[in-house]
């Protein structure tokens, strides 16, 4: 039935396609046009805003730093998610339900709230500093809030659910007999992890990695609140240019450059991983 008429089969997608055209494609086209125009009054073609976005050391540094932040957070999140996945794999239904609950609780909690929690944890008189000083490990409070490391830790926690769920899903799909066979043949657990479990769970890890990358490099709230005023990343730069100093054309060009960078990286990783995974099947 669904294989019916070529056009009629897609009819039910039409309302959403219409909405996406009006509220997504058209605005993005306008964004591109504005980015190619000298000013907002009338259209005068120019590439000056792109030249500024791509040659100005300040802007370029921020773009690069934002993408690096995304990669750092994604790798760290993956490292944090695997132990949970391995635990999940060995648990019975009850244990798995508990783990899923523990993953969903922060995922469904507001990001501003979780960011606020990290401000309390990392702050001068925060949880970590007070505890470390009370047991006498440090004399002076450590500076953690408004640092790169603090930001990465907070972002790892915020994106951990997005990484843990797909990794759990692909770990749960691994045939237990493969693991038993490897162990029966005398392989150590570490060896089994490296040669059986890790490769078979990569699809989930890659899915989580892409989501975390796209999410953490655009995580405006955490970047500004935990990163502080001295670390500027692309979302804040775009916001400042657009709302702060009302340079719409420059902001539009930065938006396009940022969006393309993210899309290219996600697309390339997706492409590469598919190729890799196909090679593994063969």
């Amino acid at each position: 039935m669904r294989a019916g008429g070529a056009v009629s089969g897609y009819l039910s997608a039409a309302p959403l396609a219409l909405l996406f055209t009006v509220a997504y494609l058209v605005p993005v086209v306008i964004l591109v046009i504005i980015s190619l125009s000298a000013s907002t009054s009338g259209f005068n073609f120019t590439l000056v805003h792109y030249v500024a976005a791509l040659t100005n050391g300040f802007n370029l540094g921020i773009l690069f730093d934002t993408l690096v932040l995304g990669l750092q957070v994604s790798f760290a999140t993956m490292l944090a998610a695997y132990p949970i996945g391995l635990l999940f794999m060995r648990c019975g239904p009850r244990g798995r339900a508990i783990i899923v609950f523990l993953i969903l609780l922060p995922m469904l909690t507001n990001t501003v709230v979780r960011t606020f929690a990290w401000m309390i944890i990392l702050g001068r008189e925060g949880v970590i500093n007070i505890s470390l000083m009370s047991i006498g490990w440090i004399e002076e409070p450590l500076r953690m809030l408004y640092t790169r490391t603090g930001l990465i830790v907070a972002l790892v926690q915020i994106f951990l659910p997005l990484m843990a769920l797909p990794i759990n899903a692909s770990l749960a799909r691994i045939n237990d007999n493969l693991v038993k066979a490897a162990e029966g043949l005398g392989a150590s657990r570490f060896y089994v992890f490296r040669t059986v479990i890790l490769p078979l769970s990569l699809p989930g890890a890659i899915a989580g990695f892409l989501l975390t990358f796209a999410g953490s490099s655009t995580a405006f709230v955490s970047q500004t609140l935990v990163g502080g005023g001295r670390q500027i990343f692309m979302p804040l730069l775009i916001y400042q240019q657009a709302i702060g100093v009302q340079k719409w054309n420059a902001a539009a060009a930065l938006s396009i450059v940022f969006a393309i960078s993210i899309l290219v990286i996600v697309f390339a990783m997706n492409r590469y991983s598919r190729k890799y995974l196909r090679g593994m099947d063969a």
Partner: protein
């Protein structure tokens, strides 16, 4: 030797998993504790305990209450719109391999990776080109685009598990397409649909970039308001708002039917 190494593997994995779980849960606990502080500063652990910030929130915070109401309206509208339109779209594209289906699916999923701040700016430019000021409806439209991918993903997964024979049976027994949709398809994809709606709602409540770009003193959402409070001065009222949000979230998760989370592997 092998036993010993396996034991050390267990220990390492166990310790790392414990660390990750603590990392996952700690912020929520910190928030709950912090919301009962009696201090004027965000100090942990608090020196005194009270519910003063909850009282302050309910008695002296009209702005926070107003922004919460805006957020709720935007979330309800965008959830309703994205669930309805997203489900219809997912029925058309899920599981199909034709170029059209793949293109539409990629379009509908792309807001997940397209930077939201860029989309916010694009929407703002469209509004100003049309000579309009940001309003509740424009926020709701922006949020609908942002949350639709979650609905599509969840409903598509449910649609792909649908046994096509059931639809053929219904059709061959003389049921119309509309009758089949409401009596066969819809009940079967309901878990995915409800799960998608819940995630869409929570994502809308959570969203900042588009709301910030389209914000206006009249239409400021709750997270934007909280962001401003935190960015300017660390207002302790944020702790009590957070406490309430965490409590609501807990209730939502506990009330969620298990079947609704059927996408979760167990």
């Amino acid at each position: 030797m092998l036993k010993l190494r396996n034991l050390s593997y267990e220990t390492v994995v166990g310790l790392l998993a414990a660390a990750s779980v603590i990392l996952l849960v700690a912020p929520t606990l910190v928030i709950l504790v912090m919301s009962f502080t009696g201090d004027f500063l965000l100090r942990f652990p608090p020196r005194s305990w009270s519910v003063r910030w909850y009282i302050e929130l309910f008695e002296n915070s009209p702005q926070i209450a107003a922004s919460a109401w805006i957020s709720l309206q935007v979330a309800l509208i965008s959830t309703l719109a994205s669930t309805t339109l997203g489900t219809l779209a997912a029925l058309a594209v899920a599981g199909r391999r034709s170029a059209w289906a793949v293109a539409l699916d990629s379009l509908f999923m792309s807001p997940m990776v397209f930077p939201a701040m860029s989309l916010g700016l694009a929407l703002l430019l469209l509004l100003s080109l049309l000579g309009m000021r940001p309003a509740l409806w424009s926020l709701a439209v922006g949020h609908t685009v942002i949350v639709t991918p979650f609905v599509i993903r969840m409903v598509s997964a449910a649609v792909q598990q649908l046994n096509p024979v059931l639809l053929d049976c219904s059709a061959s027994l003389g049921a119309s397409r509309i009758f089949t949709f409401f009596n066969v398809t819809l009940p079967l994809i309901r878990p995915g649909l409800l799960g998608g709606a819940v995630i869409a709602f929570l994502s809308s409540i959570d969203h900042v970039p588009v709301s910030l770009m389209l914000s206006d003193p009249r239409v400021e959402t709750l997270p934007v308001n909280l962001w401003i409070l935190l960015d300017s001065n660390l207002d302790v009222r944020v702790a009590s708002v957070s406490g309430i949000i965490v409590a609501i979230t807990l209730v939502v998760i506990l009330v969620l039917d298990r079947r609704m989370l059927g996408h979760v592997p167990r």
